[in-house]
Amino acid sequence: MNTTFSATWAQCKAELLRTIRNRRFVFFSVIMPVAFFFIFSSTVGSDVKIGSVDFTSYYLMSMTVYGVIGASLTSFAQRVSKERVQGWIRLLRITPLPSWSYVLSKIVAQGVINLAIILVVFVVGGIGKQIDLPVSVWLESGLWIWIGGFAFMALGTLIGSMRNPDAVQVLALIVYMSLSILGGLWFPTSTMSGAMQTIAKITPTYRLGQGAWNLVGGEAIDWAGVGILAAYAVVFMLISAYIMKKQEAV
């Protein structure tokens, strides 16, 4: 039992190391959201409001969500696909490491990574632009993004279940960018046309952002949004489990 615990811990550490060393991760999940935040919050100006929320706080939430999603879609999906293609999983199957420990360490490591992204973007953006929010709102919105972020881990697993790591990279980037733009993370949905707004509402990215935007605006989380996000997570997990089972059989 003791071995399993230390093995799970070692597995977590390895995941974290691999993520931090991944340049793509650092670029998409840390540098890009922070840079976008400063560029757009400076050009738009502090007096603009989205609904009842001032743009700076609104956009900080958008970019935090953008960074967290990026970690799951680019670096996590890539790690999953590389492990599968390089026979790593096969090799792990003949070690005493239980499969639950492998899955658990992936979830824990991604949780730590997502938390770190949230902290970095909040601290850098919050201090850099002197965003004044109650402590409870910081905590609630951070916690919301953190929990909701796991839905995108499921999407990352789905993309990573493809056999070809190069195709995974391209697909992950396309999905990442289009979901971010469609879901209103880059430009608020209120600037979109009516048709685009309708599309935005069905994206998981919008739903994750919406919770945070609501909290910052002093509103409650939209439970319909929670339901949609959870439904996405379940569907992604089911499809990727199905694909992996099928590949295993061959």
Partner: protein, 298 residues
């Protein structure tokens, strides 16, 4: 002696084709076993079943007298599979340490680096290693848990001469400590040097089983080769008594036979036009050829 591996009438069918066909095999602990056979003979499938990666269609597989999938068994085995598995963004030392953490009584990192000859590469990224170095890393990972049984599928492919020598020394050292080693290889010299038992598999069945010298002695592993004159035909040669196979390259011909003494007389009596005659007694290579070739033509 305890049985390290037991296969009882194991058959594995893929889409109606038998990859492994009613195969029984018992390997005692402490054996260095070489599994030989042509490509597609069922070696890798057999190893996959012993490791519990695949389940037999029928028959029983036992590893250390238990189910290969039980965690207790997994703690005492190690394997180096055919495909190279290194993971991105981890250093050599980190990769080995990760594997060490899976086992209840791992070998020290320094020792693993030493036996795999990767001491200087410890802080290199695993993906930056050459093919041969990656195989050696695979070996260090297989040995990480100080296994009682170690499986090595084509271990020395891509290794240079020095690495191969180091590798062989390590295998011998493991064997002398009572470890069971199972290896598949294309290099017959490797099997000859290392193994104390050779099992030849062809089309999913065991076609020969014994020590290297038994295998060499028991087969029709003798060859007469010569440069044939223009009038010599393959048909004429095949008609001679005791010729099991012929092999041509240009005008140079190799005759395989169980009794080369009688064959040489037959060649002379039949006035076969020969130059530069050579008689080779069987090495393992020839024994292997003799075992596998006739089965293919049958």
């Amino acid at each position: 002696m305890k049985a390290a591996i037991q296969l009882e009438r194991v058959t594995k069918t893929f889409k109606g084709k038998k990859a492994v066909d009613d195969l029984s095999l018992t390997v005692e602990a402490g054996t260095v076993l070489a599994l030989l056979g042509p490509n597609g003979a069922g070696k890798t499938t057999t190893i996959s079943m012993i490791l519990g990666l695949q389940q037999p269609s029928s028959g029983k597989v036992k590893l250390l007298e238990d189910d290969p999938r039980s965690p207790k068994v997994r703690d005492r085995i190690g394997a180096m599979l055919q495909e190279i598995s290194v993971i991105d963004n981890l250093k050599v030392g980190e990769t080995i340490n990760l594997f060490r953490s899976y086992f209840s009584r791992p070998l020290p990192l320094d020792q693993l680096l030493l036996i795999s000859g990767l001491e200087k590469e410890k802080d290199k990224m695993a993906t930056a290693l050459s093919g041969g170095q990656q195989r050696r890393l695979g070996f260090a990972m297989a040995a990480a848990g100080d296994p009682d049984i170690i499986f090595l599928d084509e271990p020395t492919v891509g290794m240079d001469v020095t690495s191969r020598q180091l590798f062989w020394d390590t295998i011998r050292a493991m064997a002398s400590r009572g470890k069971t080693v199972v290896l598949t290889t294309h290099y017959l010299e490797e099997a000859d040097q290392l193994a104390d038992r050779i099992v030849v598999i062809d089309r999913g069945r065991v076609i020969a089983d014994g020590t290297p010298s038994e295998i060499k002695a028991g087969t029709t592993g003798r060859i007469i080769s010569f440069t044939a004159g223009a009038g010599v035909t393959d048909i004429a040669l095949r008609r001679l008594p005791g010729v099991t196979d012929t092999e041509w390259s240009g005008r140079r011909v190799k005759l395989y036979s169980g009794d080369t003494d009688r064959l040489i007389f037959a060649l002379v009596e039949n006035r076969i036009d020969m130059r530069d005659i050579e008689i080779q007694s069987g090495g393992l290579e020839e024994a292997f050829q003799a075992l596998v070739q006739p089965a293919k033509e049958a």
